[in-house]
């Protein structure tokens, strides 16, 4: 009997360990290559307060971020705002929304502007504050900000019916490294 209990204990422990490992894998599925310094933040997509859009699907987002959609439902021209290359937020957008790397993204827009498929190239700003101010000033602008950088001057939209505070939100950005 004692031998049986001990075998049972070993078996349960093994199962729990495997389950823990698996869970850890699942949580880090998209950033296994990134160093895990602290908990990750969600990346919110922000638009002007006057923009009537509340929710966008991921495919729609991709079209917007690739310049394939030029106007909002209210007729306002879509102006894409990006952060400078090298910023983790930009990397997340390129990877998770555009599904491109930096070179492919730049080539896409060069080609698009040249052929006329894309009307306006994205605006590039240096800081999250700049992105926020730009979106505040331009009614058709769309940009992205960490949740911690949000304020009432801009509006965060939902992606696939999930907001930045919701479980299962798809865009995550690593925390800022302290300099």
């Amino acid at each position: 009997m004692r031998r049986l209990a001990g075998l049972l204990f070993i078996l349960v422990s093994a199962v729990f360990s495997i389950a823990a490992l698996s869970l850890g894998f699942a949580l880090n599925s998209s950033s296994l290559s990134e160093p895990q310094i602290a908990s990750e933040q969600n990346l919110a997509l922000v638009v002007n307060l006057s923009n009537p859009v509340q929710n966008l699907s991921m495919p729609e987002l991709r079209r917007i971020f690739l310049g394939e959609r030029s106007h909002w439902p209210n007729g306002r021209r879509i102006t894409l705002v990006m952060m400078e290359p090298g910023q983790p937020e930009r990397a997340v957008v390129l990877r998770d929304i555009c599904q491109m790397n930096e070179t492919d993204f730049n080539n896409h827009f060069l080609h698009g502007v040249f052929t006329g498929e894309v009307l306006v190239s994205p605006k590039t700003l240096a800081t999250p504050v700049g992105v926020r101010k730009f979106v505040f000033n331009v009614p058709g602008a769309i940009g992205y900000l960490r949740v911690s950088d949000l304020d009432p001057s801009v509006k965060a939209i939902r992606i696939d019916e999930r907001g930045p505070e919701d479980k299962g939100y798809r865009l995550h950005v690593p925390p800022r490294s302290s300099k």
């Binding site: 102006t79 306006v120 700003l125 700049g130 101010k133 730009f134 000033n137 058709g140 602008a141």
Partner: protein
């Protein structure tokens, strides 16, 4: 002209003792009134000036700042056009928004302080036009940030320029309102200043006139006083001359008769001698009185003060005047209270004082032939105020109330006395008063026309009863050199 001039002279005569005080009071009052007016007007001017500053000047300053910030809004917007760098464009956008925040605050402040309906109307219009311009400005900024420069410029030309022009005109109108207010307030201040100057000139003119009139009045009063004194002195000389001439005429006549041998017999000679004696006595008394008055004025009197019984003083006086009183048929009623305390005085001087009062009572009794002399103690709650009073009363013509202040002046003789041709030198009461004061007392009078007069000699009571020999000199006159 004689009527008003006589009235003026009478008024001046009444006011003469107070001329300097009156003049000072008038000048003080006028200066005070002028000062109050000036202070009031200065205060009004100061308040107006503060209103101008608080209202118009500060208002103009605010409008100037508003105009600058409005321009700054537009300027910053256009600076954004000069660059393609989105970060720089955002900075200019921030500047523009900061400027329009200041403009909004300025407009709110203006509306808060506006009082007149027109000011409020212009303020609201400015607020509306500014909101309209900001709408266009926001679109222009958005176009610039989006990179649509041409669109931004078109938007501004189409909507921004006219709406900005409306804002500029609204600000100009407000500025004109403030200018108008300031001009009006400046005009008020100028008008107040003019009024103040005119008032000052008027009041100073009145002051000058009053001061001149007062100086003239004082000079005239002094002149009248000098004329009056000269007149009194002439009357004194005339009166003395007459007083001397009558006995001298009797003496001369008697002497002539004796020299001419017209007087025979011992009895007749005795009669003439007696007449000459009486006249000589009268002349002697007159001369003594004049000399006594002169020595009083020169401060050379020496009195021997000692404790005296009142009854002794009165008896001495009655002795001296017995012959005169009996000759004319007067009755003197003598009432002396028993147990009267002693008084300090010179017997001879006090006798002379009371004698003068009795002689006056005889002269001015008219048809009455009664004189009363009463001596008593006047009690008072304060021991120091107890005194002996000796009154000489007559039932004669009395003294006019208007002449009462003058009867103790030397050489003064009332108009009624002069009209009745009652002889005298005008020195009797003056001498009596001097003597009373030298004894430490006073002389007072109560009189009523056609009823009579009561002259009262007030003498202090002696506390000690021992005899004291003391020599006292009367107070020297500071105007006389020794």
């Amino acid at each position: 002209m004689a009527g008003p001039a006589a009235l003026l002279d009478r008024v001046l005569a009444l006011a003469s003792p107070y001329n300097s005080s009156l003049l000072l009071l008038i000048v003080f009052l006028v200066v005070t009134v002028v000062g109050l007016f000036v202070i009031r007007d200065l205060h009004t001017t100061n308040v107006e000036a503060q209103k101008i500053y608080a209202g118009s000047v500060q208002g103009l300053q605010r409008i100037g700042e508003l105009q600058y910030e409005v321009q700054e809004t537009r300027r910053s917007t256009f600076y954004a056009l000069t660059t393609n760098d989105s970060n720089l464009q955002l900075e200019y956008a921030d500047q523009s928004r900061e400027a329009d925040r200041l403009v909004n605050e300025g407009i709110s402040e203006y509306l808060r302080q506006a009082r007149m309906p027109h000011e409020i109307e212009v303020g609201r219009r400015l607020q509306l036009d500014w909101s309209g311009y900001l709408g266009v400005r926001n679109e222009v900024l958005a176009s610039i940030l989006e990179g649509s420069t041409k669109e931004a410029v078109n938007l501004d030309l189409k909507g921004g320029v006219p709406s900005f022009e409306r804002v500029r005109q609204d600000l100009q109108e407000i500025k004109r309102l403030y200018d108008g207010q300031a001009s009006q307030q400046l005009a008020n201040v100028a008008a107040t200043s003019r009024r103040t100057i005119l008032r000052l000139i008027g009041i100073l003119g009145i002051t000058l006139a009053l001061a001149s009139a007062s100086v003239w009045a004082i000079q005239r009063s002094k002149m009248l006083g000098a004329i009056q004194l000269a007149k009194l002195q002439m009357e004194f000389v005339a009166s003395v001359s007459h007083e001397l001439r009558t006995p001298l005429a009797v003496i001369s006549s008697a002497a002539d008769n004796i020299a001419d041998g017209l007087v025979g017999g011992k009895d007749q000679l005795k009669s003439y001698g007696s007449a000459i004696q009486n006249q000589c006595r009268q002349i002697t008394e007159l001369v003594n009185q004049i000399l006594l008055f002169a020595s009083t004025k020169e401060g050379k009197n020496r009195y021997t003060l000692r404790p005296l019984q009142v009854s002794r003083i009165i008896d001495a006086v009655l002795d001296n005047t017995a012959e005169l009183v009996q000759e004319i048929g007067f009755v003197i009623e003598r009432r002396i209270e028993t147990g009267l305390p002693w008084v300090m005085g010179d017997l001879s001087a006090l006798s002379q004082c009371l004698q003068n009062l009795i002689v006056n009572a005889v002269k001015y009794s008219g048809e009455s032939r009664w004189i009363g002399i009463h001596a008593f103690v006047h009690d008072s709650e304060e021991r120091s105020n107890r005194e002996i009073r000796i009154t000489v009363q007559d039932r004669g013509m009395g003294i006019d109330r208007l002449e009462m202040p003058h009867i103790f002046e030397p050489f003064y003789r009332g108009a009624a006395v002069t009209a009745a041709q009652i002889h005298g030198t005008g020195l009797g009461l003056s001498l009596a008063k001097s003597i009373a004061e030298a004894m430490g007392g006073t002389l007072s009078v109560v009189s009523e026309l056609a009823v009579g007069s009561i002259f009262t000699l007030h003498l202090p009571i002696v506390e000690k009863q021992e005899s004291e020999m003391a020599s006292v000199t009367s107070k020297p006159d500071p105007s006389i050199r020794t």
